[in-house]
Symmetry: C2
Subunit: 351 residues, 2 copies
C-alpha cells in the first residue's frame, strides 16, 4: 500500500507561487471568460489542524452558477476578487492533523487553485484503490450522491415505473437513469444532442431518450412513456419540464435537482402555471440539495462503490486540461457541451 | 332517540315529480346561470340494496368547477344533460338495505336534486346528535377532511411554525388556520375582502391575515410572517401563490389543495417559474385529493368531531335557500362571495 501511494504521488517540488482563478465580476446572463481571472498568489502555509493539498482535479458543476450570480438562496456566494469555490480532489503535501497523512488523497471544497490549505476535518479521504480518484468528484462524490438520494429518497422508485430524467447525459442525469434501471424501472432520458442520446441509450443502457432540440416534446414523451411518467428527475426546468409535467401519472414524484435552463436568466422566465396538475394527479414536486442527506453520505458512497465494482454503473469523464482552462470548461458545461462529467485536470498524476 | 328522529323528520308526502338541476352546457370561463337548467324528472324508485333520499342540504364546492368544464384529470365529468354532481345530506324515505333505516340521515354524492336513489353502501350515516347535519358537508365532511389531512399529513406542522393559507375564509381555509392554531402554529390567512380578514382573525382566532385585493403581497407577508413561511396551504394559485413561494423557509411544505384563481381560465395562465426556489429551499409542493385518505376518513372525522365538541373549531355557514338557487350559489362561491361554507338548503327541516 505504501508502495502504491509513493508510485502515484504527484508531489514534485512545491513552487513559491499558487495559481488561482478568481471571480473578476458577477456574470450577467451566461458567464464569459472575462468574468474570471488567473492570478498568482502566495503559497499558503498550513496551521494547526490544517493540511496543504495539491489539486489534481477540480469539478465544474451547474450549482456553481448560483454561487457567483448572487441569486437568493443558493449556497454561499463567491465575491468578486475571491477564488472560485468548488470541489477538488488532490494529494496531501503537508499535514498538521493526525487524521490525514502526507500523500493521502482527499476531496473537499478547495476552490479553483493549484494549492489549498484546509481544515483536516473538512476533507474526505479518498481511497485510490476503489476507483480512479477523479470519481470522487463524480460517481463517488457529489453528483453520485445527488443522483442516489434524489432518486431513491425523494422519488422512491418501484419496479416497473417509468423514470424520466432531464440533462440525462450530464454527471447527475447519467447516473439517475442507471440507478433507475438497477431498481428495475424504465429509464428515459432527455438531452440536447443526438450524440448524447446515443450515449445514454447505447453506452449506459437507458431504455430510450430524445433530443429536446428536435421535434415535439409531448409526442416524444407519449411515444417513449406509453404508461405515462411516474418519476421525473429534473435538472433543467423550463419548457422541457412543462412537457413532462403534462405527462405525469397519478401519485407521480418530481425530484427538482436543478434548473439549468434558468440559471442565466436575468429575471424569472414566465411559463404556464401547472400547480393544478399536481392536485389532479396527487403528485409532488420536491426540491433538494445533497447536503440535506449529509448524515447518510457514507451509506450512499458505499452503495455507489458496490454498483461500480459490479459494473452496474458506468461513467464517462469529459476532461479539460489545465487550471487556466477552468472558466471555459465551466462555461461549456453550462452550455451543455459535455457528455458525462466535466472535470478539469489541474495536475498530471497517475492516480 | 326514536322520538328525536320522528320530531326532526322532514318527510312529508312524496310528490310525483323530482326537481333537478342539470348541466345545460359546458361553461366557458366563469359559469353563467344559463349553463344550468331546472328540470322536472320522474320520482326515482329504489331497487334492491338501494335507498331513496330526500335532500336537505347540498354543497357547492370549488372542485365542482373541474367536473363540469372537462379539464383533464379532475374527478369524473358531468355531461351536459346530466344532473349536477355534488355532495348532499338528506333523510331516508325508503330503504331496501338492512344497513340503513327509514329516517336515517345520510351523506353522499347525490347531486343537485330533491330526491335521489343510491346504493346504500355508497352513503355515510350521519348522527344528528353530534352536530347539525349541515356540518356533514363542512367540518364533519369533505372540507373538514381536506383541511385535516392536507395540513397534518402533507405538511406535518410543528409547534411555532408559520402556516399561511389562501382562501382563508372559505370552507377549507377557515378550518386549516384553526387546526394550525390547535397544533400551536402561527396561522396567517389570505382572503379577498376586509370583512373576510376580520372574520378569520376576530371570529376564528387566526394570528393575522391580509386582503389580497389591497396592497403589496410581498410586504404584507413579510410583516405578518417575520420568521418566514414554513407551511403554505394553497387553495387559489396565481399571483398570491407566487408571492408566498418567494417567502418560504428552508424545508417548507406546500400543500396544493386547489387553484380556484385558475379554474375559469380557458388556457393556462402564465406565471414566473419558481422551481429553482424549491431547490434552494429544499422545499416541496404536493397536490392532494381528500379521496387518497379514504381509509382514514373515520379517524379524521372522529378528531374533527372532538375538536368541535371542545369548541376548538368554529364554523360559519353561508346558506342559500332553494334548489333553484344552486347555480347562483355555486357561481357566487366561485366569485368569492361566501364567508365560511356555502350550502344550499333544499328542504326545510329541524335537523
Amino acid at each position: 500500500m505504501l508502495a502504491c501511494k509513493q508510485m502515484s504521488s504527484p508531489n514534485q517540488a512545491v513552487p513559491a507561487v499558487n495559481r488561482q482563478i478568481t471571480l473578476a465580476a458577477r456574470p450577467v446572463g451566461m458567464p464569459k471568460p472575462t468574468d474570471f481571472k488567473l492570478v498568482d498568489a502566495q503559497m499558503p502555509q498550513p496551521g494547526a489542524g490544517e493540511v496543504l493539498v495539491r489539486a489534481l482535479y477540480l469539478s465544474v458543476d451547474p450549482v456553481m452558477r448560483g454561487r457567483i450570480g448572487g441569486q437568493a438562496g443558493q449556497a454561499r456566494s463567491v465575491q468578486p476578487g475571491e477564488v472560485m469555490a468548488g470541489p477538488v480532489v488532490g494529494s496531501v503535501l503537508e499535514s498538521n492533523d493526525p487524521r490525514i497523512a502526507k500523500d493521502d488523497v482527499v476531496e473537499g471544497m478547495l476552490g479553483w487553485q493549484e494549492y489549498a490549505v484546509a481544515q483536516a476535518k473538512s476533507l474526505r479521504k479518498v481511497d485510490p484503490r476503489v476507483a480512479p480518484i477523479s470519481t470522487s468528484l463524480y460517481v463517488l462524490g457529489m453528483p453520485g450522491l445527488t443522483a442516489y438520494f434524489g432518486l431513491l429518497d425523494i422519488c422512491k422508485p418501484q419496479p416497473g415505473e417509468t423514470v424520466v430524467v432531464s440533462a440525462a447525459a450530464g454527471a447527475v442525469g447519467s447516473l439517475v437513469g442507471q440507478i433507475a434501471r438497477i431498481k428495475r424501472c424504465r429509464a428515459i432520458g432527455i438531452a440536447g444532442s443526438n450524440e448524447k442520446i446515443r450515449f445514454i441509450t447505447r453506452e449506459l443502457g437507458f431504455d430510450g431518450g430524445f433530443n429536446y432540440k428536435e421535434g415535439d416534446y409531448q409526442a416524444r414523451l407519449k411515444e417513449l412513456c406509453p404508461n405515462g411518467v411516474d418519476i421525473y428527475f429534473d435538472n433543467v426546468g423550463g419548457p422541457v419540464t412543462d412537457a413532462v409535467i403534462r405527462a405525469i401519472n397519478t401519485r407521480a414524484r418530481i425530484a427538482v435537482c436543478g434548473q439549468i435552463s434558468q440559471y442565466n436568466s436575468e429575471r424569472p422566465e414566465m411559463g404556464p402555471r401547472w400547480l393544478g396538475q399536481l392536485v389532479a394527479k396527487q403528485a409532488k414536486a420536491e426540491g433538494f440539495l445533497v447536503q440535506q442527506f449529509a448524515d447518510r453520505h457514507e451509506e450512499g458512497l458505499k452503495q455507489l462503490a458496490t454498483w461500480l465494482r459490479e459494473k452496474k454503473l458506468k461513467y464517462h469523464e469529459d476532461i479539460v486540461d489545465g487550471l487556466e482552462n477552468a472558466p471555459v470548461a465551466f462555461i461549456g458545461m453550462l452550455e451543455g457541451k459535455n457528455i458525462g462529467k466535466r472535470l478539469v485536470r489541474v495536475t498530471q498524476s497517475n492516480l
